[in-house]
Symmetry: C2
């Protein structure tokens, strides 16, 4: 019997956790493992609101794959996935190469979900990759410089954050810390800067505990954020946004954080999806495909009340751990030891700028302020410890 | 007899040197002195190529007026000059205020000279103020970030510097130091970055010693600058430049350093000008105006061979010293002590990036490399010492 080929698509939380898990759990020569990644680095998506606002250098959210992947055990192929051909058990990359597999793990992440809002795709920034946040950060700086040359253009100092979900709120938390620095650097009157948070749902952080939502909003409002909740965006143009109320906000900087859908590759490859996500079986497999595991933002799983879990880093990592465990059983023919995936939610914490945060930890305990911020760093540290050891923790975590 | 009103327009090298000179040389109540400045700071125009490239923070080239002007002796009015009415002896500001004078010193600086090149005014940056260099620096950073999101757009990494005169060459010197840093920060292959220096004249640094020109060009070429000398720019568009040869260079960053003309206010106010500059008399006065002194970029003076002196900081400062000396004589009625202006050129030094430079010092001695760079800093230090004392020197000069 030949060595089974395991192919992992994507080096996000799910893909990297799978690759690192397999390199630790499988014996040498037990499988031929390949990880396909668009970049030569993994990045901490849940940190990106910080470099986007300019409060952290982007490189700190980057982890080069050769720091965490043992390339004697896992082949790393740099490339962009174009299509999965599950009938042939092959994957085509954009550069024309074709990789075959016996087991496939799809961790291709997300695309922004624009809910059909006109002009959003063309005119709004989104916080989705190291490269995208480079651009947001530099664009914001450039707006301050441009205003100094054109002091009538208050739209240069107006920032619209579309979506007051997790990423939106965390980005606002950073932006209110960054703006005073920019005002000092460019000698701009802080009272001229306007930051709007626009949310279509009846509440910020939809689904979150109301005490926590109130805490976050009060804190951000006290620092000058203007919330427009229950207010859908009708259109985004090169000059700003037009709200469903008819109001227009003139702004050269619209950042869309309103939601994500599974990578379009999955749908294009013929899998049945809802908002780009595949409803997987108890072992995270695509229906009808015993050797195709789908994890992270492309996977749809439901809680006991029949509601979908939001796609988070935490769940992606747990899904990867489950897949690693079950893959080992499949490869070794130990099918009796298969374990269905059950999320073990550790809580949900949002940062609200340096030393500020809030959220829920185990046993539904609410946390606020510095302790929440530190607790969140603790979770990040656990992940970094797992994929790269203490050296990586010390290199990346700053309190 | 009432106290004479002295009005100084502009807080550049000439205006500030005049104001500081008068506050030191005149006795209290001998004159009522007012300085009109667009900003609440003076700036070191000859340093601006550094913050433009991002190799120095812009604030280091800024000197707040209250650090150097004693406001018990000199009134500082923040405003932009609109028109000089020499018949009425008044000056109108853009905010509608009108200031009267007995003696006027015009130090309004320059506007870019575009030589009628189509599209240059609309599409090119120029290194002319703190605010303009904020924008150049942030734009360059933004281009690197944009390239990371659009790796086909090599025009984002192509930089065109129009004019290989003093400012152009000094800016190139900084840019070749900055680009490798940007490539590291944004993880961009340095071989993709193209920097062009385009000069219409038959040589870079027209009029400069050929050994020095060769030294500067060799050094910059070895660091990757591509020179196109004797090559006029025909047109500048939003997409780059079209040269007289028909060649098009696609670039989103065209910085024009090709020349300056005197402030348009002088011509609009009815003074006779050549390229915005007034041919002044031996006491730096406008012809037919015994109480209007014109210094710096708005003044035209000729050497013994009948060629105009280039408008430099050095000459502006010397002109201001001459005006201060003569103004004192006018006010005190000591006309026999009037002294005609004669430039005392101390040499001309260009920086070529950190620790590099070249130029000519007294007795036509040529200097190269680090010693030239240090000599240049020495000149800057002398100026800062004069206007703000040792504290200002220590605050601003870095080796």
């Amino acid at each position: 019997m030949s060595t089974p080929k395991i192919l992992i698509l994507g080096a996000g939380y799910g893909g990297v956790s799978t690759a690192v898990g397999l390199q630790n759990k499988l014996n040498h020569n037990e499988a031929d493992i390949t990880l396909v990644s668009k970049h030569d680095y993994h990045y901490l998506t849940t940190w990106l609101h910080e470099p986007a606002a300019g409060t952290m250098p982007a490189h700190r959210a980057k982890i080069y794959l050769d720091e965490i992947i043992d390339q004697k055990k896992v082949n790393v192929v740099k490339g962009t996935v174009q299509l999965i051909n599950s009938a042939d058990q092959t994957v085509a990359l954009e550069d024309g190469s074709v990789l075959s597999y016996d087991y496939l793990i799809v961790g291709l992440g997300s695309d922004p979900e624009t809910f059909g809002i006109e002009g959003l795709k063309e005119n709004a920034f989104s916080i989705r990759s190291i490269n995208s946040v480079y651009k947001i950060k530099e664009h914001i700086d450039y707006m301050f410089a441009s205003f100094k040359n054109d002091p009538d253009r208050l739209d240069y100092l107006t920032f619209v954050i579309g979506g007051a979900g997790f990423t939106g709120i965390e980005f606002l938390g950073e932006l209110v810390n960054r703006v005073p620095e920019l005002c000092r650097e460019f000698d701009v009157d802080p009272s001229l800067v306007q930051i709007y948070s626009i949310e279509a749902a009846p509440s910020a952080l939809p689904g979150f505990d109301t005490d926590l939502v109130e805490y976050a909003m009060n804190m951000l409002e006290s620092k000058g954020i203007q919330f427009k909740i229950n207010t859908p965006i009708k259109q985004c143009t090169a000059d700003g946004v037009i709200l469903a109320t008819g109001e227009e906000i003139k702004s050269k900087t619209v950042v869309w954080t309103g939601g994500v859908r599974g990578s379009s590759v999955v749908e294009k490859s013929g899998f049945e999806v809802m908002r780009g996500r595949v409803k997987v079986d108890e072992y995270m497999r695509a229906p009808g495909h015993d050797n195709v595991f789908i994890i992270g933002d492309c996977a749809l799983i439901f809680n006991d009340e029949g509601r979908p879990y939001p796609p988070t880093a935490q769940i992606s990592i747990q899904e990867a751990e489950n897949v690693v465990r079950n893959l080992k059983a499949f490869i070794r023919g130990e099918k009796l030891t298969l374990v269905p995936f059950v999320p073990a939610l550790q809580g949900t914490l949002a940062s609200l700028g340096k030393g500020e945060g809030m959220g829920i930890v185990m046993n539904k305990k609410k946390m606020f302020g510095l302790s929440a911020a530190i607790m969140k760093k603790g979770g990040d540290a656990r992940y970094l410890m797992k994929i790269g050891g203490l050296g990586l923790v010390l290199k990346k975590i700053r309190l």
